[in-house]
Symmetry: none
Subunit: 275 residues, 2 copies
DNA sequence: CAAAATACGTAACATACGATACAGCGCTCC
DNA sequence: GGAGCGCTGTATCGTATGTTACGTATTTTG
């Protein structure tokens, strides 16, 4: 079974004429980047002419050069999504089914945070800590618990935090309370829910600022969102993992708490005395 | 010092207009591949027009789109040359407040799983997959969302899964439905809730098998529990972290799903057709 | 609330890219 | 040694791509 272009090449390189073989070798030498550049650059690097490059990719079975490039990109994408596969096997300390799941989850978190700057988180935290407006939280089928989790914390350190639960008609009616100063935190990963998208759109039209927690393929809500947090969700399981988003949520909770420290501490003391 | 385009983006994303921010988000979401495609494809993926993409790369300081692409390719080349650098300690690309939180969380997970044997997880999974009895889930103030999350998944692959919500009196009355063959999954971390402890005790007396998710100091419920999962919760924040428990929950969900594969798949198909 | 500034998209444009036709060269096999 | 075949490069063509100008919508500011 041939899965990568690199294999395909080494399989057929024997049956190639000299010029095309040089093209093949140059591509293998610094795979796959040369293949993503233009035909002219590729040909220059290989020391052959453009048509030779084109004949080369044609011999590999591609209809045209763009098709060849797309395949290379897809290959690269698959590689980049699962860094674990590249790490020359972390020799699993306990060999069972646990390890791959844990490793994938840890990778997901690292990857998620790699693309998440302090500044971005700080901006969102500032927005959530801004007490001039209300904060609403809602999630999809599997992610609503994350919304609840976040709401449970935020509601303690500041007033006007609401988790939208129950039937669609119930929370849709609450749109009437939402305005420019309010923030709506939405959790939505595949398969994206129409009801949430519609809800987000309406809220957006009312000027509500949306903070979206989604997966790397971005829920359609992203187009209405002020802030988008894209978490990695792929794990060796039948389900997607929300763990990375969960950790981002916890990080945000911590950041908001820090910002509200003064007021928050006072509030917490008050709450304590209420018990 | 800004070394990668990704950092450059997260540095300036705050100062961008809406459209360009969408472009930035889509690029970050599946970095860097979108940026290697054509302007048209990029714009389509981001849901904006081509000029917006060009203005976006211009704002990042590039003279034209090809220059932007070249930089991305160079970056990719450097990454591909040294795969290890990605996984072995990403030398914290953002040195701010994010990193300690993330690092602590990752440590918590590793520690949690270090004391968790495959066998233990397999036993619990087997118990949860045993369809002769019912499964109840409940959690404390901050952990109830974890119970919900788990219930949302388990309820799909098997019948008789119930999340206990609402007022204490409501779920206490449901004790009457619980017996020897049933399983009660409880999430309880500091500060442990009396109501939950009492509930667990009664359930235990009725012969219910208890699976407890708690922190490393062990909730008093541990006395009654058949299985105890102790997760690390310490993070540099005002709150404890439930992330490690969350990952254990996801792992269990995966394990149960695998055990029920045959029946579960049939169930899922049925559910699909119900929509 | 009005006016100015900024941002965004549509559409036309120019360029650079991939594709193709053709000619020259070398190699192989009578 | 000559004829035929195959491989390669040059030059040209059509097109897809990046670019720019302009009008409209939206937001911001006084």
């Amino acid at each position: 079974m041939i899965s990568s272009i690199a294999e395909l090449i080494s399989d057929r390189i024997g049956a190639m004429p000299a010029g095309e073989r040089r093209a093949a070798q140059t591509l293998i030498a610094n795979y796959p980047l040369i293949g993503l550049k233009t035909v002219a650059e590729f040909s220059a690097a290989a020391g052959v002419s453009s048509p030779t490059i084109l004949r080369f990719v044609a011999r590999l079975g591609f209809q045209n050069y763009p098709e060849f490039q797309s395949t290379l990109q897809d290959e690269l994408a698959a590689q980049l999504q699962s860094p674990a596969s590249r790490t020359l096997n972390p020799p699993s300390p306990n060999g069972g089914a646990v390890s791959p799941m844990l490793e994938a989850t840890l990778d997901n978190m690292r990857e998620t945070f790699r693309h998440l700057s302090d500044k971005q988180l700080a901006d969102i935290a500032a927005k959530l800590a801004d007490r001039r407006g209300k904060t609403f939280l809602i999630g999809g089928r599997f992610t609503d618990p994350l919304a609840r989790y976040m709401a449970a914390h935020l509601a303690i350190i500041q007033p006007n935090v609401f988790h939208l639960a129950g039937q669609e008609s119930v929370w849709r009616d609450r749109l009437i309370d939402m305005g420019k100063r309010d923030v709506l935190v939405i959790f939505d990963i595949r398969r994206y829910q129409d009801s949430l998208v519609r809800f987000a759109e309406t809220a957006h039209q009312r000027g509500v600022q949306i903070v979206l927690f989604t997966d790397q393929w971005l829920s359609p809500i992203a187009r209405f969102a002020r802030h988008v947090i894209a978490g990695r969700t792929a794990v060796p399981s039948a389900w997607d993992s929300s763990a990375a988003l969960f950790v981002v949520a916890e990080t945000l909770i911590g950041a908001v708490t820090r910002q509200l420290e003064a007021d928050g501490a006072k509030r917490i003391r008050e709450l304590e005395s209420l018990r």
